[in-house]
């Protein structure tokens, strides 16, 4: 997908028809758009998402107000207003035009808009434009929505790829890349097919339970479906709470008054995480101890009691032993050995047994007594050892709990101190919002755990019901045929699961190598990235002794690692078509459109990222404020920029002071913010070369 231009018509801040042409040259592949905070940079990024998929990202406020406020206010009730976004791009040597539009009729201030209309055309070999029949399907073939978030990126949110809970997103991207959704769908569908086949089994006298078992499986499937939907919704909420907390953390870290406090809190929270992990491990160790040796705790005094009883029996000589003297005496008295030999007094056989009776007796009892004492000694040692280990692990748990309390206390103090700071940005409300998100996050995480347990239990129950059906004595040729079909369906499902795991893992390893190749040369630290088997993106550092440990988190390194991941995904797509993939995945060049790439970073990281961006893929669109781009970023990008635009903010407010009204780009001044304008909104102006 090579972007040619985008045209916005009355789309949110952008009044009227406004167009941006994208840089096309290989050595000048960057399109740079400058805009003040709140000017419409995120809206511009979202224009692509809306045109292609009909959605806006979650961080867009009042997402149902698509029509430019200026256009809406200027219209009279009953007037029709069109809002549209048109994108022209090339893909796989074909030129496409996508247009999504809504025609709204004004009735009051509320924008109750009808469903948007999507149109798509392509240019055939003769140059004629032809409409694409199923536009959305064609867009998904070119760039599936699930993958689009890696190419249309909000820099403030890209960092979350480095968090542990981003594994599903990364795993999803890998599957989409590889075309493994085909396998996913098949693996999901085959159990439904098997269930439909079970419905065809005819019950007989020996298999009366079949209908109720099949009904039970249907009910379980229904419950799993509902629980899975809830699980997905909860995961989305969990993610959005985490994103909000990160955004607030970043704002607190950026404000001079709260910077130090937030830095300390970030460090304490990292410690808190480690302590929590240690506490979990101690608790696991205790569970294991109690599970394996817990019974010993209830057997105190048992060894002493056994000793006492065994001593008593030893004195009486009746301690159980392998061969007892009484047994020999019984044989002699009976006059016949167990081998059948007659035992007559004075014969060799009699004498031999007499000899045995003398040799066993006390020695044998002693041996049994020693053996029992030995066993009881080991038992006592084991008991003491288990109790000692239990005491130690309890101490560890108590220590962790104490450390957590100390950390919690200091974190609460920091929270109170942040609330007390008086600044222009209301830190108290920011901190309160943070607390609320943390609270909601904790509740959601607990609920997720509960739902997951429920899904696991239902899945186990379903498997049990299936086994019960298999064990029924179902007779008849037709039934046998159905059962055979079910067995083949299960065979195929099992094979597809294996294939999916293999293909997914191969790509994960290939992607990890790409990330390493991209990240290591640009990282400012000696960090090594990893894409773990759980699809977690993380980095490690090597100690002097050669040991590798998880590297401390850094906003700059997180940003570089996340961008390296996106660049690796882009490379994977680029080479996907040539790879001769087993399954039809995603292939071709894709642009990267990125908002807020340089926020909260120092000059060194801004310089590195600016140097990194043009090489990420063949076409890069960067949205930034002038303040964030000035200096090192502009120096790095000056020879790579092919097109530049300024997003001018118009505001009817007149009493604003100390705002940047003009900026200088390529030696000319451009309006950046127009105070006291006759309208509110954004205007795109191309920078003269």
């Amino acid at each position: 997908m090579r972007l040619r231009y985008i045209e916005l018509e009355n789309f949110r801040q952008y009044h009227g028809v406004q167009t941006v042409q994208f840089a096309q040259r290989e050595n000048r592949n960057v399109t740079l758009l400058y805009g003040a905070n709140g000017s419409g940079k995120t809206t511009f990024l979202n224009a692509f998402m809306w045109a292609l998929y009909g959605n806006l990202t979650e961080d867009v406020e009042e997402s149902d107000r698509l029509v430019s406020d200026h256009a809406w206010e200027a219209a009279s009730d009953g007037d029709r207003i069109t809002v549209s976004v048109t994108v022209e791009f090339e893909h796989d040597s074909k030129k496409y035009l996508v247009k999504r539009s809504v025609e709204a009729q004004k009735q009051g201030t509320e924008q109750n808009l009808p469903k948007s209309k999507l149109m798509m055309w392509y240019q055939d070999e003769s140059g004629a434009r032809k409409e694409v029949d199923s536009a959305r399907s064609q867009i998904d073939r070119i760039l599936p929505e699930r993958l689009s978030r890696f190419f249309f990126v909000n820099g403030e949110r890209i960092e979350h790829l480095v968090r542990k809970d981003a594994y599903e997103e990364i795993q999803g991207a890998i599957k989409t890349l590889l075309g493994l959704e085909t396998l996913d769908r098949a693996v999901d569908r085959l159990p439904k097919v098997a269930q439909k086949l079970r419905r065809k089994l005819k019950s007989n006298d020996d298999s009366k339970g079949i209908d109720s078992l099949t009904d039970s499986i249907d009910e379980i499937d229904q419950q799993v479906q509902e629980a899975t939907a809830t699980y997905g919704e909860l995961r989305t909420s969990e993610q959005s709470f985490r994103d909000e907390i990160t955004l607030i953390n970043n704002r607190l870290a950026a404000a001079a008054e709260t910077k130090a406090l937030q830095k300390e809190r970030t460090e304490l929270e990292a410690q808190q995480e480690k302590v929590l992990e240690a506490q979990r491990n101690h608790q696991k160790a205790r569970d294991s101890l109690v599970g394996h040796h817990g019974y010993l705790a209830f057997l105190g005094g048992l060894a002493a009691q056994v000793h006492r009883i065994s001593d008593h029996h030893r004195e009486r000589g009746d301690l159980p032993a392998p061969l007892k003297a009484t047994f020999i005496a019984d044989l002699l008295e009976a006059g016949r050995c167990i081998c059948g030999t007659e035992l007559v007094e004075g014969t060799d056989a009699w004498s031999a047994l007499e000899g045995w009776r003398t040799r066993i007796g006390q020695a044998d009892v002693d041996e049994a007594w020693h053996s029992l004492h030995g066993v009881m000694g080991t038992f006592e040692e084991g008991r003491n050892d288990a109790l000692e280990r239990l005491r130690e692990v309890d101490v560890d748990i108590a220590k962790s709990a104490q450390e957590r309390r100390a950390l919690d206390g200091r974190i609460s103090e920091i929270s109170a101190a942040i609330k007390a700071v008086s600044t222009e940005e209301n830190q108290e409300s920011l901190e309160s919002a943070r607390e609320e998100f943390i609270d909601r996050l904790a509740k959601t995480s607990r609920e997720i755990g509960r739902i997951k347990d429920r899904i696991d239990a239902l899945t186990a129950e379903r498997a049990k019901k299936e086994r019960e059906i298999e064990q029924l004595n179902i007779k008849g040729e037709a039934n046998n045929r159905v059962q055979h079909r079910i067995a083949v369906v299960k065979e195929v499902e099992h094979a597809l699961r294996q294939v999916r795991d293999i293909a997914s893992d191969t790509t994960r390893r290939r992607l990890e190598q790409r990330i390493r190749d991209i990240f290591i040369p640009v990282s400012l630290k000696k960090y090594e990235p990893r894409l773990t088997e759980q699809f977690q993106l993380e980095y490690w550092q090597q100690m002097k002794n050669g040991e590798k440990i998880p590297a401390p988190k850094s906003t700059g390194e997180n940003m570089l690692l996340s961008l390296s991941f996106v660049a690796a995904v882009a490379a994977e797509c680029r080479e996907g078509a040539d790879r001769g993939a087993l399954f039809p995945g995603v292939g071709g060049e894709f642009p990267i459109v990125m908002d807020a790439a340089f926020g909260n970073l120092d000059d060194d990281y801004r310089r590195h990222i600016a140097r990194f961006l043009p090489g990420m893929t063949s076409q890069v669109v960067v949205l930034t404020s002038k303040a964030q781009a000035s200096g090192v970023v502009e120096n790095e990008l000056q020879n790579r920029v092919g097109e530049q635009y300024v997003i001018t903010t118009h505001t009817t407010k007149t009493n604003l002071k100390e705002v940047t009204e003009k900026i200088s780009v390529a030696g000319r001044d451009y309006h950046y913010q127009v105070i006291g304008s006759h309208w509110d909104g954004a205007e795109l102006t191309g920078v003269q070369p």
Binding site: L183, A186, R189, K196, L197, V489, L496, T506, R510
Partner: protein, 58 residues
Amino acid sequence: MNDQGDERSQIARIYNSLSEEARALIVEVLRIENASLHLQLPSGLTDEVLRKVEGVVK
């Protein structure tokens, strides 16, 4: 690209270990799923796969 060679040989082993009917069915199932991959809400696919099972597995 050794990984890719390994991947192909592992997948080939899985395929070769299947019964003849399962091999025929796996091809049909993937073909049906592939054809419907870009449909937002494919309906009737389970029945289509079921019919294929009944056709392939006697």
